[in-house]
Symmetry: C2
Subunit: 388 residues, 2 copies
């Protein structure tokens, strides 16, 4: 049943090849002091940095730069950002990068004027924001996380081995995001396909939960089919604008809160994958692909109807003369074939997991209860072993 | 190809059986003076009026009532609303009703402080809003138009026989909308199924345009499948909460701007149907159903691929051993069977159209150019005759 909910997503998106030009208009809405946040410097190589700086300068902004945001932004990096944002009393945080940079910008946004330790308040205690929030804008250069249109902000604390995502409310969502599919062309293939699977996993985590067939399930099947279609084109020709643009748009809607409305969600592939990531520092999307097939084959008997529906509606499995179980398994096989075709990592051994790590990874996996089967420690160990 | 676009939809939605309670929170954001807008008084019979008034009174608001908003709000009614809104300097317009009431509230919202004749400025000349806008909130009691989450506001001028819809920008969108599926239970079956087809038509008008298969096409196929599924349940049992809630949610996403982003759209069924409506005053959704099959069969040869896709993905037509044309026609036949099953009006004769009216209706039909075939006057006459 479609449960009760509220929905609001005020982020303004500018999409397309010319979308950076709209940054000029948006900058008029903010004061002079801009904190420019980015990652390891790839934007300096591909020219995006220069293009952004040109617009900032022509808009007569004072720019404070904060670079080196890592793929899994750390709490130490958060403190650094807080210090800079406060010191210069910035009027806007402009994130130029992928999901990590957008996440990081939001974390700094809520933390800059937090009177307590923001890690304690907003991550360990998951409290609501009650202090001033610095507005955030994003220029997206990688797709996958949906961070450009949601309130998610994951921060990692290496000392305590905790990676926590706080999903903040709509007042923390980016005020605007600029989505230019061309910016995603230069990503190496490994990162590109990992991002594709991250998108797929976001959809599946929300699809494989609950027994109903509500509107969201149908929308998700549409998003999955679009992704499957376009990703196979993109993997052959990464500069296919049509494929890359549709993937970018699909990624945004996969995790901008719409498809989760009124339904339960799972997120166990992310929980197991993130624990694998904590042990291996492997690319996020690959940790998800490496554990997915074992996970879904394990939980399939607990939601045979939904897996059958997945096979029929997403993978066009022909049902004639087959049992429900056969249909469902053929759907998962079609998914596995597709994943192999993309070149995804299909086992955790290839990510560097050793037999000795399995128990520790299982311990580090947080067991959620929104899926079809709440997993015990032993079951997680079983799935990890089946993923080796 | 996914074209360039911007997207922003800031409307906050409260969805579910308890959603009216959130009106209390929203009212805190506005001043004391509320213009309560509604239609013919059905909300007084079904208790929604009392529930809304109770919350308004408990929130210590001063309420100015404006009732009698008709299914096709007139320009005279608009002037009446403008006069009341200005006189009392209202802080919020609260629309309680279906799409017409929501549309009307938005028209008053932009017109109240317009220094010219708002019909001239915002309808005949379609100018941008440059005056103060009164915020609008909606409590939805009928589904179909999507007006609860978009900027559309259709006004009819009987004197000049013009029915014009201005789609205003996001600053005119309702600030909040309250969607309680239970409120839709009491609608008579004829109106209910007409609303269902209005939703389907909104999707098809956006689906049957352009040659690409972008993410929106896949999302629309999902919305269509959800609607087809739930409407067949609702027509048997109008009080099936699951079906009515999914239909309500589908209706919102069918016309809240998302699925039109980056693509062309058609709207010829609406153009022909509205001209039929101008001559017969028939229920909007029925004017659409009555002309749809003739229109789609006529344009099918100009977009065989899309009609084939429609048959396969939406109606599960089996393609084996069939020509593309046969597949496409079987899809349209499945759609026609579904429409008959719902009890929709399938010809314009039953809506009161006579042979003598045909030429006049064709003259009154505005020919759009976003579809697969720009229609001449004679082609529109042909479609109308085929719809008799």
């Amino acid at each position: 049943m479609l449960g009760n909910f509220s929905y609001c997503n005020p982020t303004k998106l500018y999409f397309g090849e010319d979308s950076l030009e709209y940054l000029r208009d948006e900058l008029k809405n903010y004061g002079e002091r801009i904190l420019l946040v980015y990652g390891g410097g790839s934007i300096k190589k591909n020219g995006i940095y220069d293009d952004v700086m040109k617009i900032l300068n022509e808009s007569h902004k004072t720019v404070y730069e904060l670079s080196g945001v890592m793929p899994n932004p750390t709490v130490e990096k958060l403190y650094e950002g807080v210090s800079i944002a406060r010191e210069h009393q910035v009027d806007l945080i402009l994130a130029v990068g992928g999901g990590s940079v957008c996440d990081y910008a939001k974390a700094v946004s809520v933390s800059a004027y937090c009177n307590e330790d923001p890690w304690d308040k907003y991550y360990l205690k998951m409290e609501d924001v009650d202090n001033e929030i610095i507005p955030v804008g994003c220029v997206l250069t990688m797709v996958g996380t949906g961070s450009e249109m949601n309130g998610g902000a994951v921060i990692t604390n290496h000392e305590t081995k905790l990676k926590i995502g706080h999903v903040f409310g709509e007042n923390v969502f980016p005020k605007f995001s600029i989505l230019n599919p061309v910016y995603t062309y230069t990503l190496p293939t490994y990162q590109m396909v990992a991002g594709f699977y991250d998108i797929m996993s976001h959809i599946l985590e929300q699809y494989f939960s609950g027994s109903d067939d509500n509107t969201s399930d149908y929308i998700m099947e549409g998003l999955l089919k679009s992704l499957i279609h376009s990703s196979q084109i993109a993997v052959k020709n990464p500069q296919d604008y049509e494929a890359r643009s549709n993937i970018m748009w699909t990624a945004t809607w996969a995790l901008n809160t719409l498809v989760a409305k009124g339904k339960t969600t799972d997120w166990m592939v992310h929980m197991i994958g993130q624990a694998v990531g904590a042990y291996t520092d492997a690319t996020h999307g690959m940790t998800l692909s490496a554990v997915s097939m074992a996970y879904y084959r394990y939980i399939m008997p607990y939601a045979l109807d939904k897996f059958k529906r997945f096979a029929l509606n997403v993978w066009n499995v022909s049902p004639e003369g087959k049992s429900d179980e056969t249909i469902a398994l053929e759907g998962l096989k079609a998914m596995e074939d597709y994943m192999n075709h993309l070149g995804l990592v299909m086992n955790i051994h290839d990510l560097g997991v050793t037999d000795e790590m399995i128990e520790g990874i299982a311990d580090a996996t947080f067991s959620m209860n929104g899926g079809y089967k709440e997993l015990s420690h032993d079951e997680i160990v079983g799935i990890l072993k089946a993923s080796m």
